[in-house]
């Protein structure tokens, strides 16, 4: 027989044998290399874990100014579900006289708060009692879990995810995944011949349409983690081999957990939604462990192809897919038939896009991103899964948004402007502690584009004036609130040779006006007169001390030829509101690791930079702006009996309409204008003030604490002359002065020294 074989064939066989040996050796080497690659790369898998950004948690205590309906609103915002009885964390129930809530557990920076069932009662002014259910124990103070408001991921990657552990997800999720994607998962070695055969047969008998994949969960994970999307046999073989190798090194548990976190489940603009943890928030605005079977079915269903099965775009298609998954769940014994029936009837339950709690507040997140940038490296922000706890107050934010959305169209109608002409921005901060509570940078409040609250640098107009008057009032030997100032024309020659002749806004002259009234009525000429007298440098220094970066040193700054953003304005007005104490505005409170360990806390910084007494006097004059000055319209919307301070701002030809002001606990700044900088025909009072006044009302902003600081005394003054009054003067008023600077001469109306003690007493009961 051997002889029959020709030499040619013999050489062929030898050649083949050598080739096969070389092939085996090469294959072995390749496998060894592939094995190493799988091990190294899987061990080195570093999840892209963007920092998660949270709003401030709502503090709840008896006496908190939160009504029960407001609390309900907050629960809805947090994705709590109304139900007939409490059925696990994230549910609430309305009983006849109380609201019962199963409050979710949460790891706060100062320790965990356990899940607890709590009953709340309240009245029109807020919460009255908080009681732990199942006991009579009343609760002094607790928090709701904070709202997840977005993520910060590095610019080069737009993957977003919230990491979950397999042991912490509801068991129904992995079980459904296995049932739908890879029934032999627990048995196979990475590839499933049965699966491949089934897919091959199915595909062979089907023309076009979607092909069935025979990939195991392990293969899919390999593909997602290490391989391209290319459809080729070479890639398929590589994928299968790597899957087998991975199974040799990694447990089924870890493979499944990795899959849960890796799989792509949706797209939000540039942002890719990875993993079930984030997908649950993205679609349902609640954590994974609160999902109903139908919701689990939906998420597992769309894993097949989140573009084709986008529940927001193709609800019918997704519903069909979800119901199919529910059927498979029943077949696999994961749910009962009656359960499937109920679940199939339920709506998809997908929250409406950006209203769903993620990426809702683009302007504020923008501020957080800028403030955090200086504190952490970009790669850490994108990969460490840091939890950033911010100062955002969702209630304040909602009210600011609602005002801008509702009031801009009214302002446009009132001025017969085309709808959409005006733009607006607003900022709300806390008076003490300098926390940014709300921010809007565009009238389209969800639009993540140009952030006017931070980046729009506009002349602030008369918003600068209080600092001119502060400079004067800080010189009590020469100025007090009733100093008489001449409202007369002024003309200045500027260093560049040009002439500057400011005019009053109403183009009129008002004779001699008391200092405080010049501010209240926002007269330009007295302001410039005072400014020139105290000096450009003094006003410049005060603005800087209040927190404004680099104001100019020109007389035109007295009238607000200073470019600043709404946030800058909020900063300097905060310093006035806080009695002259500067606290740099902060958007971040704490940062924790993804495991819930505290990393850093950002305390506000405090420094007295403006003199307290003169600030008190300036704020007194700013109350008059609202009482009877340019902003008196606000009296019609603000709560009666409360005092607020503020200032209108208008720039040349009414291009910018500003209002900035404060009460005892809130500072708010509103800007209205046009992006093309054309006149809007609105001064501060006709435009921004309308939004500000209603906003302060909606915020339930407290009135000012009118307690005078040390060094201030009140005296009875004759308003005509600004001199001391006594019983001889009708219409005398009480005015604060710096101690030691009370006028010493009596007004013409006074019969000083003539009155006896009995007149006093009569006065008391008059």
């Amino acid at each position: 027989m051997i002889r029959i074989i020709s030499p040619l064939l013999r050489w062929l066989i030898i050649g083949l044998a050598i080739a096969a040996s070389v092939g085996v050796v090469a294959l072995s080497l390749w496998l060894i290399q592939l094995d190493k690659e799988v091990r190294v790369r899987f061990a080195g898998v570093k999840w892209v874990l963007p920092a998660q950004v949270y709003a401030a948690p709502m503090d709840l205590y008896p006496g908190a100014p939160i009504t029960v309906p407001e609390l309900r609103r907050e629960l809805d915002r947090l994705g709590y579900r109304l139900s007939d009885e409490l059925s696990g964390p994230g549910t609430y129930q309305i009983a006849t006289d109380e609201l019962r809530v199963d409050v979710r557990a949460f790891s706060f920076w100062d320790g965990p708060q356990k899940e607890q069932r709590v009953a709340f009662r309240g009245d029109a002014s807020g919460l009255t009692t908080i009681r732990a259910m199942g006991s009579d124990q009343s609760i002094d103070l607790m928090r709701l879990d904070p709202m997840l408001i977005g993520s910060i991921y590095p610019s080069h990657s737009a993957e977003d995810r919230v990491l979950v552990k397999l042991d912490e997800v509801p068991p129904l999720l992995p079980a459904t995944l296995i049932q739908v994607e890879d029934r032999a998962f627990e048995e196979h070695y990475g590839v499933s011949l049965k699966g491949i055969l089934r897919a091959a047969v199915t595909n062979a008998f089907r023309d076009g349409g979607r092909k069935q994949g025979g990939s195991t969960i392990t293969q899919q994970l390999i593909k997602n983690l290490f391989l391209s999307n290319e459809q080729s046999y070479a890639r398929k073989i590589r994928e299968a081999l790597m899957a087998v190798l991975l199974e040799r090194h990694v447990s089924k548990h870890d493979i499944l957990e990795a899959y849960l976190n890796e799989v792509w489940l949706g797209q939000d603009g540039n942002r890719a939604i990875h993993g079930f943890g984030l997908a649950s928030q993205f679609y349902f605005n609640k954590p994974l462990n609160e999902l109903r079977p139908a919701e689990v079915a939906l998420l597992v269903g769309i894993a097949k192809g989140p573009t084709v099965y986008n529940p927001r775009k193709h609800p019918d298609r997704v519903r069909e897919r979800r119901d199919l998954v529910l059927k498979l769940m029943e077949e696999g014994g994961l749910i009962r038939a009656d359960e499937r029936e109920v679940e199939s009837l339920s709506p998809l339950g997908v929250q409406n896009g950006k209203a769903g709690g993620v990426e809702r507040y683009p302007a504020f997140i923008d501020l957080v991103r800028r403030q955090i940038k200086g504190l952490y490296r970009e790669e850490d922000l994108g990969s460490e899964g840091l939890r950033i706890f911010t100062t955002l107050d969702p209630r304040a934010q909602e009210r600011l948004e609602a005002r801008i959305v509702a009031d801009l169209p009214d302002l446009e109608k009132g001025r017969q402007l085309k709808a959409g002409t005006l733009q607006a921005a607003g900022v709300v901060t806390s008076v003490e502690g300098g926390e940014v509570l709300a921010m809007v940078g565009d009238r389209n409040v969800r639009f993540p584009g140009f952030n006017r609250a931070l980046d729009s640098q506009r002349p602030i107009g008369s918003l600068a004036k209080p600092f001119v008057y502060l400079a004067a009032l800080a010189d009590p030997g020469r100025y007090n609130l009733y100093s008489l100032i001449a409202d007369e024309p002024i003309e200045l020659r500027m260093p560049n040779g040009s002439r500057w002749a400011p005019k009053n806004y109403d183009r009129r002259l008002h004779g001699t006006v008391p200092l405080y009234a010049a501010l209240a009525k926002s007269y330009n000429l007295p302001t410039v007169r005072i400014g020139l007298d105290v000096g450009v440098d003094r006003v410049h220094d005060l603005l800087q001390a209040a927190g404004l970066q680099g104001p100019p040193r020109l007389p035109s700054m007295f009238l607000g030829a200073i470019n600043a953003s709404p946030l800058d304005v909020a900063q300097i007005y905060s310093t006035l509101a806080a009695n002259g104490y500067l606290t740099p505005l902060l958007a971040i409170r704490e940062v924790m690791t993804k495991e819930g360990q505290p990393l850093s806390r950002y305390s506000f910084q405090l420094k007295q930079t403006l003199p307290e007494g003169p600030v008190y006097l300036t704020n007194w004059a700013m109350q008059k702006v609202i009482e009877f000055g340019t902003a008196r319209w606000a009296v019609s919307v603000l709560p009666a009996g409360q005092q607020y301070a503020g200032k209108t701002g208008t720039t040349d030809d009414a291009r910018d309409s500003w209002f900035a002001g404060f009460g005892g606990d809130r500072v708010a700044v509103v800007w209205v204008g046009r992006d093309d900088n054309k006149p809007v025909g609105l001064d501060g009072a006709a435009g921004a003030l309308r939004i500000w006044g209603r906003l302060m009302r909606d915020l339930n902003a407290r009135g000012l604490d009118l307690t005078a600081p040390a060094g201030i005394v009140e005296a009875s003054i004759d308003p005509q002359s600004g001199l001391l009054a006594d019983n001889g003067c009708a219409g005398a008023i009480s005015v604060p002065f710096m101690a030691g600077a009370v006028p010493t001469s009596y007004a013409p109306c006074a019969d000083a020294g003539q009155s006896g003690p009995l007149d006093w007493l009569k006065d008391i009961f008059r």
Binding site: D59, P62, D110, S716
Partner: protein, 201 residues
């Protein structure tokens, strides 16, 4: 006596002022209180040198006028704690937490708790004082001084608390090596304390 403007004052305020006047007459005090006239309505704080009213002192009753209101005793016994100053239950709960943190040496946690309390009562001078104390423990002397100043700004004439604040400022200034400033602060605290000692019953 020109420091008040009667028409601008509310009726309650006038009553309070009348009471103060009566007491001042009774106690032979010639100086009317000048601090915080616009919000006085509850307790009038006399200057440190004021002597407490003697109940047996004759009170001048003007004819044909309603009897003067019953006034609380002059408060020289300033509140010395958060609880005495009437802080709300959640603030006291946080104060307990903060004190536990302080006892455990966890001053940063304590600072966070005091600041959380401050969000509930932002103008509570005692909270600002505690924040100052905590900053000092954390060796933030500058912040300690600022917070103590703020506490004094909001103390509404609680001279005891003001004295505490000035002592704390003195310590903070010593940390900052500002010897003259520290001496000035100590002197301020001492004079306040001396005034309190003479004024106490």
């Amino acid at each position: 006596m020109n420091l008040f403007s009667w028409p601008a004052m509310g009726f309650r305020l006038r009553l309070a002022a009348l009471g103060a006047l009566t007491l001042a007459v009774a106690g032979c005090v010639s100086e009317a209180p000048v601090r915080t006239p616009r919000t006085t309505g509850q307790v009038l704080v006399p200057p440190a040198a004021a002597k407490p009213a003697r109940p047996e002192a004759p009170v001048v009753q003007p004819p044909l006028l309603p009897p003067p209101p019953v006034m609380p005793p002059v408060a020289v016994d300033y509140p010395k704690t958060l609880a005495a100053a009437g802080a709300a239950a959640p603030v006291l709960a946080l104060a307990r937490q903060a004190q536990q943190s302080r006892a455990a040496g966890q001053h940063d946690a304590a600072l966070g708790q005091w600041q959380r309390a401050l969000r509930i009562e932002p103008r509570n001078a005692f909270l600002w004082h505690e924040i100052a104390v905590t900053h000092l423990k954390l060796k933030h002397a500058g912040q300690a001084e600022s917070a103590a100043q703020k506490s004094t700004s909001l103390a509404h004439g609680n001279l005891w608390l003001e004295a505490q604040n000035w002592r704390l400022i003195a310590t903070a200034r010593r940390v900052l090596l500002d010897v003259t400033g520290a001496e000035a602060a100590t002197a301020r605290a001492d004079s306040l304390s001396a005034g309190l000692a003479t004024a106490s019953p």
